[in-house]
């Protein structure tokens, strides 16, 4: 049982991500607003953050940057979920400190697999 935050400005996307992750047995909190999500992450860091890139107000890139600047958010595992397929964007987010990248459209199975893997890696690194 892991706590996962989902941030996406599209409520339907949030719904899908939450459904898949809950199906995997995780505790999921959803946000459609970047600022609220960032505040919550810094307040109580989750095991995993699913982050959309294209959002109004505070977008994924900015959120990631701010998160990594803060000591509390430095170790949060971030999976970027984006419709931007250009690997330039992908590389940029990885350089900003995202742990993995999955692009839309993905299948729930693909997402679940990625999440499992990221959590397992995190498990391994924290137990070391």
């Amino acid at each position: 049982m892991n706590r996962i935050y989902v941030v996406d400005d599209e409520p339907d996307m949030v719904e899908l991500l939450a459904t898949v992750l809950r199906g995997e047995g995780h505790e999921v909190e959803t946000y459609t607003d970047g600022r609220a999500a960032l505040a919550r992450v810094l307040e109580e860091p989750p095991e995993l953050l699913l982050l959309d890139l294209m959002m109004p107000d505070l977008d994924g890139f900015e959120l990631l940057k701010l998160l990594r600047l803060d000591a509390r958010g430095r170790n949060v595992v971030v999976l970027v979920v984006s419709a931007r397929t250009g690997h330039r964007a992908q590389l940029e987010t990885l350089q900003l400190g995202a742990n993995a990248y999955i692009y839309k459209p993905f299948s729930p199975r693909e997402l679940a697999g990625q999440v499992r893997q990221l959590l397992a890696e995190r498990e391994g690194s924290t137990s070391d």
Partner: protein, 508 residues
């Protein structure tokens, strides 16, 4: 002689010189000849007058010799008479029987004995004329010279003394005049030639220098300096030509301006289209993901078991959403094809190892999600190639994408890069091998065609319109590289991309 400068100039100078020289020659020659003939005419007329005038006094003087045997007064009288005409050469006085009385030249008078034996006129024609009292005035050849000879008979009625005067005139004065005239003509010709050469060259240059200006203008336009105009104010055909040329340049400049503007608009429009395609496909992805995700969950019973009818309906929805998703991916690829024209190749040296590492790094999740065994084989370093990094990344990405797409779970995927010569040119060979379904031999050459996939069922199963590989082909060719594929059905495929190394020319 500075005439060789410019063929037209030289030719015009020659024409002008020729015309001037011919005119000069004709006019001087006609003057000289006219002078010669009129002088000769005058000489002969005055010779005839002289002969007619002096015949009577001469006969009177001859009487002095005949009557009194006085030679000196006769000599003096004859000399005086001869002084009256500068052209007279000799005067022969003969009796009408053809015997000579005396012969006078400029130097001396030769007297023949009055009543003794005196010689006859040696010239038979003249002898006959004198005897038959024929008067004449003719140009004759005597001892190789041309002289004018006038024969005057004088027979006074009832007189004892009846004689004929043979006056011989030379043309020395006229000939000398002619020679002088010819000499002046030659001098005039030579001077004329020198002056004409200068003048005609200057005249020709006046015309051809304008032509040269015009030519310089043409060269400027060719060099793309469309703002400049030819300035020729010669008020002749050359200026007309220059003006027409300037007008043409105006039109050309306007047309080019319009074309440039139109091209800019087209480019903007094209960019708009590319952006639109990219944006639309991007905007489509999010709703598609939601649809696709929930349908998959429904279909796989994650959200509770469905009634059979409902399950069938969901399966149909799912298939169609998948198709829709693939069309959207095709749109993205299409927008990349549009960008891949060679003129947009912002070329720079590229380290392919770094490029492949970066692409595989971001692509790794996809490979892992399909549980493929992935390896990247490479030497410690590779020579640089010349090209556009984004497009070459697209090549690697599409090859990986293709391999992953056609390889089922648990298969392997190898990407390798090595130095390799192709047709004598150094380069780098990228190899992407998979354990996928393979390509039938007959289809091998067509996999790079746009919108081609092996068959319709493949398209349904694996999606896409086959733009990925055609884009690879397009980009590689734009980089002057080669792409080909080897494959065995059921075993897998290997795609090869060879890219040339930076040549000396590229480094300049």
């Amino acid at each position: 002689m500075p005439v060789e400068r410019g063929r037209l100039q030289a030719r015009m100078a020659r024409y002008i010189a020729f015309a001037v020289v011919v005119t000069l020659l004709a006019s001087t020659a006609s003057i000289v000849l006219y002078r010669f003939y009129s002088s000769r005419q005058a000489l002969e007329t005055s010779a005839q007058d002289f002969a007619g005038l002096v015949s009577v006094p001469l006969i009177q003087i001859a009487d002095m010799y005949g009557e009194w045997g006085l030679k000196d007064p006769v000599s003096i009288g004859v000399a005086r008479l001869m002084d009256l005409n500068p052209d007279v050469e000799r005067l022969d006085l003969a009796r009408l029987d053809g015997t000579l009385m005396f012969s006078a030249s400029r130097d001396a008078v030769e007297f023949w004995p009055w009543d003794g034996p005196s010689p006859k006129i040696s010239d038979t024609g003249l002898y006959g004329q004198v005897r038959s009292r024929v008067e004449s005035a003719v140009r004759v050849e005597v001892a190789g010279r041309t002289v004018y000879r006038v024969v005057v008979s004088d027979e006074e009625e009832g007189r004892f003394l009846a004689m004929a005067l043979v006056a011989t005139f030379n043309y020395d004065r006229i000939n000398q005049q002619l020679r002088r005239g010819l000499l002046i003509m030659v001098i005039a010709l030579v001077l004329g030639l020198v002056v004409t050469e200068r003048v005609s060259t200057a005249l020709a240059r006046g015309i051809t220098s304008n032509l040269e200006d015009l030519h310089a203008g043409v060269r400027r336009i060719r060099a793309g300096r469309l703002d400049e105009r030819v300035s020729i104010r010669s008020a002749d055909e050359v200026q007309e030509l220059a003006d027409a040329f300037n007008d043409m340049t105006d039109d050309l400049q306007q047309t080019i301006g319009r074309l440039r503007q139109a091209n800019l608009e087209l480019q903007a429009l094209d960019q708009l289209k590319v952006d639109l395609v990219a944006n639309v496909s991007h905007e489509l992805r999010t709703p598609l993901t939601a649809l696709k995700g929930f349908l998959e969950l429904l279909d796989e019973g994650e959200l509770g078991e469905l009634a059979e009818e409902a399950h069938r309906a969901v399966a149909v929805c799912r298939r169609n959403v998948d198709r829709l998703a693939l069309r959207v991916e095709d749109l993205v690829q299409l927008s990349q094809v549009e960008k891949a024209w060679p003129e947009d190749l912002a070329s720079q040296p590229i380290d392919l190892l770094e490029l492949i590492s970066m692409v595989t790094e971001v692509y790794e999740a996809r490979i892992r999600s399909k549980n493929l065994l992935f390896t990247f084989e490479h030497p410690s370093g590779l020579p640089q190639v010349q090209g556009n990094p984004e497009q070459l990344e697209r090549v690697v990405l599409n090859l990986l994408d293709n391999a992953v797409k056609f390889t089922s779970e648990g298969g392997f995927l190898i990407i390798a890069a090595e130095e390799c010569d192709h047709e004598g040119h150094a380069g780098v060979l990228i190899r992407v091998s998979d354990s996928g379904i393979g390509i039938p031999p007959g289809e091998l050459v067509r996999v790079f065609d746009r919108f081609h996939q092996v068959d319709q069922s493949t398209r349904r199963r694996f999606g896409g319109m086959g733009l990925g590989l055609s884009l690879v082909h397009h980009i590689v060719e734009a980089h002057r590289g080669v792409v080909w594929v080897e494959s065995e059905v059921g075993t897998g495929s290997t795609f090869f991309v060879w890219l040339p190394c930076r040549s000396e020319a590229d480094q300049l």
